[in-house]
């Protein structure tokens, strides 16, 4: 890619991000809700888990996971899951939003490839998720307390290829939104299934065998597992380096498949002429 083109694409990604920031803060209740929502979801699960404790420890849970610090297990799962949601919602829902507000065609009339536009749309979502996750983690630490080890840098490096791969899935989700004109259901179902089966709130070993097989086929499972392995020294499904390798492979395969689907769906939408529907 020529430098000029790359510079142009970076400029457009920046412009999309700035636009999203401005629109986000014009709905101030959004910002507050983004912080309250994760705590709201975590609280009942935390107290339920606490009710199963014997002598202050989740003994059964420790047998599966290798740690009895359920809160730390849960908060790491929630943070990773929120990044998954951020990318899926960032791509799929913003596309639906633009469809609904009638500006999708205006964006498609700019000389910016759809892929670049999609990346741009997810950036702010990821940034706000990062800030949000830090605030939530801090608040949860204050309210419930948890401990994590010193491997934060390794965990972030491990997560990085997974996030890139999720962009690939995001392209696929965005494609489904384009075809179905229905973001909420498509994203909710995908997000829920992906996060649940990959074990965002529990060790996947407890899943029934058939579902476990599906879970093990999802690279996201190794994302949750390896990050917990690094930060909490939990038992991992595979040796850590193998899980990291799976995530790197997932990055290449996921983005390639996502890009392929997006291109096909863009052509399909331009054939059936549904992008102006709102």
């Amino acid at each position: 890619m020529k430098w000029q083109k790359l510079k142009f694409y970076m400029t457009t990604i920046w412009a999309i991000t700035i636009k999203d920031i401005k629109i986000f803060f014009r709905y101030p209740i959004n910002a507050i809700f983004r912080i309250v929502e994760p705590i709201m979801w975590i609280t009942p699960v935390y107290f339920l888990a606490k009710s199963f404790q014997i002598g202050g420890e989740n003994i059964g849970f420790k047998l599966f996971s290798g740690t009895s610090d359920y809160m730390a297990f849960l908060i790491i799962g929630s943070i990773i899951a929120s990044f998954v949601s951020a990318i899926l919602w960032g791509m799929g829902f913003s596309l639906k939003n633009e469809m609904d507000s009638g500006v999708l065609e205006s964006n498609w009339l700019t000389p910016v490839p759809l892929l670049v536009q999609m990346i741009g749309r997810s950036i702010f979502s990821v940034i706000i998720t990062l800030i949000n996750s830090l605030i939530v983690a801090f608040l949860v630490w204050l309210i419930f307390g948890f401990e994590i080890g010193n491997g934060i840098v390794s965990a972030v490096i491990t997560l990085f290829p997974m996030l890139i791969a999720l962009y690939g899935i995001g392209f696929g989700i965005a494609s489904l939104v384009l075809i179905t004109n229905n973001a909420n259901n498509v994203i909710d179902i995908t997000n829920y299934l992906l996060n649940s089966i990959s074990g965002n709130r529990f060790p996947v070993e407890i899943l029934p065998r058939v579902i476990l097989a599906v879970s093990l086929a999802l690279p996201l499972t190794y994302g949750f597992d390896s990050v917990r392995g690094i930060l909490l020294e939990t038992n991992t499904l595979l040796p850590l380096y193998q899980e990291q390798l799976i995530l790197v492979l997932f990055m290449f395969v996921g983005t390639a498949i996502g890009y392929f689907i997006l291109n096909k769906v863009e052509k399909y939408c331009k054939t059936i002429g549904n992008i102006g529907h709102y």
């Binding site: 457009t12 205006s106 009339l109 000389p111 331009k270 709102y278």
Partner: protein, 336 residues
């Protein structure tokens, strides 16, 4: 380099329609298709205003969307400045400024200035150059005083102007306008038409769709009349009207009228028909005279009437309209 700004060759767009037949016993799908644009060809010269006139659902917007890369044709070819739309869409979009129908083509939660800044960046224009361009456009479209208010607070006319400014932000040589005055009040529509004429003066090529015949007539150098996805006539407005071979009508408002003067007027060769009517409410005569040789008879008519000591309060000259052309071609009105 091509001589034409836009070349459309044998363009066709067919949409598949899936129709479900549901009964208690069986459920089957029928695949049908709908031809929105049927094998149309036309060229738009550089620097001209090319009007696309037709009723709603005629295929105007579908054609526009295919030209502006938003829709893939079923078959046929579109060239913009000699480049194939299907093969060079990103390059072509740099040369096109498109305003689609409806007022929701801009972000309502952003200000006018922020919208222009965003779309400038999406066209690779940033920094000082973008600022200068945006300030110029805001001023040109009389939006500078409310540039920092969110678009949701704008009137329909202002929203349409900011959409036009957005289309011009990258200074494109070709501007495509889909029903630009639809939904605007008469004053805003007139202002917008003046702006469109300014675009032409700047040397831009304009492809305009409308279902307002007066608008097409006033603005367009050439007009394609489209109905049921087919171009049924293409020429200058003047030639289209001339092709009707229809007489012109002069309507006089007079203070009095009688058979003597009517017989006198009937002696004039080019007069085809005279209809008189007394308006009781306004206490005046309305006389419609149909003539077949354009302006030459007018002098003769006026002299004959005034020599009979009849006062002419008002008169108007009516030429055949594009509506007449459309009715002649399709047997129905544009508004049907």
């Amino acid at each position: 380099m091509s001589h034409y700004a836009i070349e459309v060759q044998d363009l066709k767009k067919e949409f598949a329609i899936k129709k479900k037949n549901v009964s208690f016993w069986k459920r089957r799908k029928e695949n049908k298709s709908f031809v929105a644009v049927n094998d149309i060809s036309f060229n738009v010269n550089k620097g001209e205003i090319f009007g696309f006139l037709g009723p709603n659902g005629a295929g105007k917007t579908t054609t526009i969307k295919m030209i502006s890369t938003l829709l893939r044709p079923t078959c046929g070819k579109i060239l913009i400045n000699g480049l194939d739309v299907q093969k060079n869409s990103m390059e072509i979009l740099k040369n096109l400024g498109t305003v689609l129908a409806g007022e929701r083509s801009i972000y309502w939660k952003l200000t006018g200035r922020e919208n222009l800044k965003y779309f400038a960046a999406m066209n690779g224009i940033t920094g000082k150059k973008a600022k200068e361009k945006i300030d110029y456009l805001l001023k040109r479209f009389s939006l500078d005083k409310r540039a920092d208010e969110t678009v949701e607070k704008y009137s329909t006319g202002m929203k349409q102007r900011i959409a036009l400014a957005k289309a011009l932000v990258a200074d494109p040589p070709i501007v495509i306008l889909d029903e630009p005055t639809s939904g605007l009040d008469p004053q805003s529509a007139r202002n917008l038409r003046e702006i469109i004429l300014e675009f032409k003066e700047e040397g831009r090529t304009i492809l305009l769709t409308t279902h307002y015949m007066e608008e097409a007539d006033q603005l367009s150098d050439r007009i394609a009349i489209i109905d049921h996805g087919e171009i049924i006539a293409l020429d200058t407005p003047k030639n289209l009207k001339r092709s009707l071979n229809k007489s012109n009508t002069i309507t006089f408002e007079l203070n009095r009228w009688n058979d003597v003067i009517e017989k006198e007027l009937q002696q004039i060769k080019s007069i085809e028909n005279i209809n008189s009517y007394f308006d009781e409410n306004n206490r005046k005569w309305e006389v419609k005279v149909q003539i077949n040789n354009g302006n030459e008879t007018i002098n003769n008519l006026i002299t004959t009437i005034t020599n009979s000591n009849i006062k002419i309060n008002n008169f108007k000259f009516e030429e055949p309209t594009l509506e007449d052309v459309f009715i002649n071609l399709t047997g129905k009105s544009l508004r049907e």
